[in-house]
Every structure is written in structure tokens, then in C-alpha cells.
């Protein structure tokens, strides 16, 4: 279900046409959280993308778009140091990827939890806090409990603390997983399709929550999305990956008919609905797009 990807919501600034150099808006003049310089990645000997140059500032909200297989998840894994770069230079919080993962909150593509799994909401959040440490804590200490309460409050999931994760709705699970990713006060959030398989109301709510946290805590956010619309009100820039190339730019500049037509070499129109949603028409793979047909999640019990 990534119609918008296949239709190719695509964003380019004029300066990006040659390869994607971009100057990040750096409101505080702070050190960038993510720096890629002409970076490239290969999987199984085949290049996924190359010549990617990108700088992300603290508090910046960046959407990563592109068709299936363009390497969006690969980009996140590269920043985590799980996939090595084939060329170029990558720095996360000034260090090589994989070295400072404590500073990164990561939400992989949607996981499913067995309803009978004996893991409560609060356990999921706690994993983010100290799940990687050796040994067994039999009791929660005061500071740990306080931090967990704070995190649950931050994502509005206080009443989910005692419920089994697998019995919660997709939106509720996503809130807890975001709290888990935030547990150690990261400087960077890497979110892989966090809105996938949520209904429209939850997509909007979770997107607003992420944007709010990014803003107040000055956390840089890279959000992989198959539909730009739920995050459109919040994104500062979009990164588009396609055909091994990467393009960065402001959404309103880039998501336009001429740009997308040029990129795909086929006539593409971008329509704006009365409520501000972008609909891209004309890409060969895009028969139609019906966001309301997304699988709706079960109501919370």
C-alpha cells in the first residue's frame, strides 16, 4: 500500500537537480545531527543510492519519500551503522554511524505483537531505557519509575502502561514505541513508516505528536512515509530517493507537476484538494489512490 510512492511524490529544489546538495535550515546555528557527503550504499554488490549529500539540523523534521526499494529503510540503517557505506562520508552527531546509537531513537517498520505476549506497555517503554544492559533488575528504582511515567505522559499513553502490547490498537502501540525511542533523550529520531496501517485520525494524531516532540525537545526527525500528506503540515524538507538518486528540498517547491514530470519522464500532475492534501496523478503505476481504504485498526478495547 504505497500508492503515493509509486505515483512518485517527489521533491526537488532547483539547486538539487545535480545531486542533492542542500543547506539545512539551522535555526539555532547548532551542530548538524546528520551529515552525509556524497554517500553511497550497496546491497549485494548493487548500488541502492549514491551521491547523497544531506545535512539535518537539530529540531528539523524531514520526510523521506520514494518508491518501494528505493532505499529509504536502508538510509535509516546506514545512519544506525547497521549497513556500511560504499562511498562518501556519514556522520551522526559528529561521529561514525553505529558509535553513538545511544543518541538515536529508532522505530523500525511496523512490528506485530502476539496478543498473548506477556509484555505490557510500560515494559516496552522500559526496554528503550535499559533493555540493552546486562543483568536482571528485579525492582524498578525511583528515578526509573519517574522517567517511565514522564515518557508515558509525553506520548499520552499513561493508561496503557499495564495493558498487553499485542492487545492494543496500532495507534496505541505506536505511541508506546515512540516513547521507547525517546527514552534516552535522543538527538535524532529515525522512524520507518510509523503511520503505516494506522487509520487517518491516528495518522494525523501520531504525526502531530512526533512534530510536537521534535519541536519542543529539538530532536531531528527522519520519517519514512509512503504518503506525505499526514506529515505535510509539519515537514521542513523532504528527501526523495528514486532510481539511485537522492533529491532534497522544501515540499511546496518540489511537489509540483513539472518537477515530477521531469523526474519520471512522463506527464504527471499534482492536484491540491480543498483541505490541502496533495494528490499526484499520472504516474504509470498509480491507478488510483484511496487513503480511506487503508486497513483501519481495531478500536481500542
Amino acid at each position: 500500500m504505497s500508492e503515493s510512492e509509486r505515483r512518485g511524490l517527489r521533491t526537488v529544489t532547483p539547486a538539487d537537480e545535480t545531486g542533492g546538495a542542500s543547506s539545512a535550515p539551522s535555526p539555532l546555528g547548532a551542530d548538524p545531527v546528520v551529515e552525509l557527503e556524497a554517500a553511497g550504499v550497496e546491497l549485494g554488490g548493487r548500488p541502492v543510492w549514491s551521491d547523497l549529500t544531506l545535512t539535518v539540523a537539530p529540531g528539523e523534521f524531514l520526510a523521506v519519500l520514494g518508491p518501494n526499494g528505493a532505499g529509504k529503510s536502508t538510509l535509516l540503517k546506514t545512519l544506525l551503522g547497521l549497513i556500511p557505506t560504499a562511498s562518501g562520508r556519514v556522520r551522526v552527531a559528529g561521529r561514525r554511524p553505529g558509535v553513538g546509537n545511544r543518541d538515536i531513537g529508532y522505530l523500525p517498520q511496523r512490528r506485530s505483537f502476539d496478543p498473548s505476549l506477556p509484555v505490557r506497555g510500560i515494559d516496552v517503554v522500559r526496554l528503550g531505557l535499559d533493555g540493552d544492559r546486562w543483568g536482571v533488575p528485579l525492582r524498578s528504582t525511583g528515578p526509573v519509575r519517574d522517567r517511565l511515567e514522564q515518557l508515558l505522559e509525553l506520548v499520552g499513553a499513561t493508561d496503557l502502561a499495564g495493558r498487553r502490547i499485542g492487545q492494543l490498537s496500532g495507534g496505541e502501540q505506536q505511541r508506546l514505541l515512540i516513547a521507547q525511542a525517546l527514552a534516552r533523550e535522543p538527538r535524532l529520531l529515525l522512524l520507518d513508516e510509523p503511520l503505516d496501517s494506522l487509520d487517518l485520525a491516528n495518522q494525523a494524531a501520531v504525526a502531530a505528536l512526533i512534530a510536537d516532540i521534535s519541536d519542543t525537545e529539538q530532536i531531528a526527525v527522519l520519517i519514512v512515509a509512503h504518503d506525505v500528506n499526514p506529515v505535510l503540515p509539519y515537514v521542513d524538507r523532504v528527501l526523495y530517493l528514486a532510481g539511485g538518486r537522492a533529491l532534497v528540498g522544501a515540499p511546496e517547491v518540489v511537489i509540483s507537476g513539472p518537477t515530477l514530470s521531469a523526474l519520471y519522464g512522463t506527464p504527471i500532475e499534482v492536484l491540491r484538494t480543498s483541505d490541502g492534501r496533495l494528490v499526484v496523478v499520472g504516474h504509470p503505476e498509480a491507478a488510483s489512490y484511496h487513503p480511506q481504504l487503508h486497513p483501519h485498526e481495531a478500536p481500542a478495547g
Binding site: 544506525l80 547497521l82 506477556p118 505490557r120 540493552d132 546486562w134 543483568g135
Partner: protein, 292 residues
């Protein structure tokens, strides 16, 4: 059996139960095994890896019968074969916990061959081998002091190893991608856990027999995890059920002619049925209420 018989006087029953040293040793060994199986099984069930436990148990059978055949203690066969099996599985398996589908045919093949080898060893051994039933379905007779000490030492070692990896293991079981991103050595932790499971299986096999290890390793933890999602409480409940099933099962077996493998398994199964029955009733009533 050797007893005068069961009375309704609990004191007299306990006195009868422990008047012979072999019975004291049966309870010592059973207690060690129940604690080890309850705790390690709790993680096994959490990881949806019961199938691996079963495979290791099947591998235990030729190990034990082979050890007897060449004239060493069956215990060494259990431990040796289980740990070797765990290392092999750890080396060849791919994918995530619970995802064993692509290897199921391989595992099934190995299981069949292991059982056949065990049968061969038992057949070749014409001497004093207790009998094949003991290896497959367990026995509490003739456990020596040395055996109890070995069970205790190995069990403690396994539990200490489990305690060290417990938190990253839980993280990797629930959320392998995030755990890996956070620097948890997922593969190492999984393999260490397989070895820990192998030790638990080898210990449990010596009480319940190779085919009934699930009665302590899987059934009590599964029951406990259905009762509560609180991790420490459900692990404690798993141990409590394993202990209760072992203690009461051994007593019933002592006073009656029913084999301990049957009594222990039946008690564990009864608790499982009770809890799932109660849950089913509760959700059924809940649905009924919603329907109105």
C-alpha cells in the same frame, strides 16, 4: 510401592515419603529441575521457541542411551548431546526467534535420525539399562547424591548465565531490530540462550524423560504468562507451578502405581486447562455483556 499407603494424616504421609534416601534425592533433584525449567522455560515460551526445546530433548535421547552403551553416566550423554545440538542449531539457524519454518524439515529429519540412533543404542545394550521407558518418560528411582550435586551445579551455572543475558535477551526476543540498533549482540545472546536451554532440557530429561520435558519447561511458563503480563510475577508463578507439579506428582507416584512422568505432566496440564478455561469463561462473559 514401598509405602504403607496414603493416609489423610499429612504428617504421617510426609514421614513415609521421606523415610527412604532415594525419595529424598528424588525431591532434591525434582526441586532443582523445577526451578531451572520454570525460569529458563519462561524465556523459551516468551521467544516462541518451544520447538527448539523439543528438538533438543529428542537429541537428548540418543545422547543418554549412547552414554550408557559406552559405560558412562547417562547424565553426561544428556548434557553433551544437548549442548552440542544447541551449538549446531545456533550456528545454522537464520531469522528471528520463533521463525523456524524454513528449517522445520531439516529439524524433523534430524529428530527422526536422533530417535532411531537412540533406539539402536538401547537395542545394542543388553545389560542393565534400566529400560527405554526411563529415558523417554522419566523415573525418580535411583538418583544418587552425586547426580543431585551435578544437577545443582549445572542448574546454578545455567541460571547465572541466564541472569547475565536476561535483559538483552528479553529485548532481542520482543524487538530484535531495535535491540540490534541499540548495540545488543543479538546473535551471541540467542546462541548463549540456546546453550542455557540445552542445559535445562538435559536436566529436565533426567526427571521427566526426553519426551516429557515440556511438562516442566513449557506448560508452567505458558500457564503463568496467560495469568499475568507482569514479568517478575509470571516468572515466579512459572517456578511455583513447576515446583508444585513436581512435588505433588512425585508424592502421588510414590503412593500409587502411576509413573511420575504421567503424574507431573498431568498436574501441569491441569493447571494449564484451569487457567485457560477461566480465561475463556471470562472473555465469554465479557462478550456476552457486550452483545447485550
Amino acid at each position: 510401592m514401598l509405602a504403607d499407603g496414603f493416609t489423610w494424616d499429612l504428617g504421617s504421609d510426609l514421614h513415609q515419603l521421606f523415610q527412604f534416601h532415594f525419595m529424598v534425592n528424588a525431591y532434591r533433584a525434582g526441586t532443582v529441575v523445577a526451578v531451572v525449567a520454570g525460569l529458563i522455560g519462561w524465556f523459551l515460551v516468551l521467544r516462541r521457541q518451544s520447538f527448539v526445546g523439543h528438538t533438543l530433548a529428542i537429541i537428548a535421547f540418543p545422547g543418554a542411551s549412547g552414554a550408557v552403551l559406552i559405560g558412562i553416566s547417562a547424565a553426561w550423554g544428556y548434557f553433551g548431546f544437548c549442548v552440542a545440538g544447541a551449538l549446531v542449531i545456533g550456528a545454522v539457524r537464520r531469522g528471528r526467534p520463533g521463525e523456524f519454518s524454513e528449517e522445520s524439515a531439516v529439524v524433523g529429519t534430524v529428530q527422526a535420525f536422533a530417535l532411531a540412533c537412540g533406539f539402536l543404542f538401547v537395542t545394542l545394550y543388553h545389560g542393565l539399562l534400566e529400560d527405554v521407558n526411563t529415558l523417554l518418560f522419566g523415573s525418580f528411582l535411583g538418583i544418587t547424591d552425586a547426580q543431585v550435586r551435578t544437577l545443582l551445579a549445572v542448574g546454578l551455572g545455567a541460571l547465572i548465565a541466564l541472569a547475565v543475558i536476561a535483559r538483552p535477551l528479553r529485548f532481542a526476543s520482543i524487538d530484535p531490530d531495535v535491540a540490534a540498533a541499540r548495540g545488543v549482540p543479538v546473535r551471541v545472546v540467542s546462541t548463549v540462550f540456546l546453550v542455557v536451554v540445552a542445559l535445562a532440557v538435559a536436566e529436565t530429561s533426567q526427571i521427566t524423560g526426553a519426551l516429557l520435558v515440556f511438562s516442566l519447561l513449557v506448560v508452567p511458563p505458558a500457564t503463568a504468562q496467560a495469568i499475568t503480563a507482569r514479568p517478575v510475577l509470571s516468572a515466579a508463578l512459572a517456578v511455583a507451578q513447576a515446583l508444585l507439579a513436581t512435588w505433588v506428582g512425585l508424592a502421588i507416584s510414590y503412593f500409587t502405581d502411576y509413573p511420575s512422568g504421567f503424574t507431573i505432566t498431568t498436574l501441569a496440564f491441569a493447571a494449564y486447562l484451569l487457567v485457560h478455561g477461566a480465561r475463556w469463561m471470562a472473555t465469554g462473559r465479557h462478550r456476552l455483556r457486550l452483545a447485550r
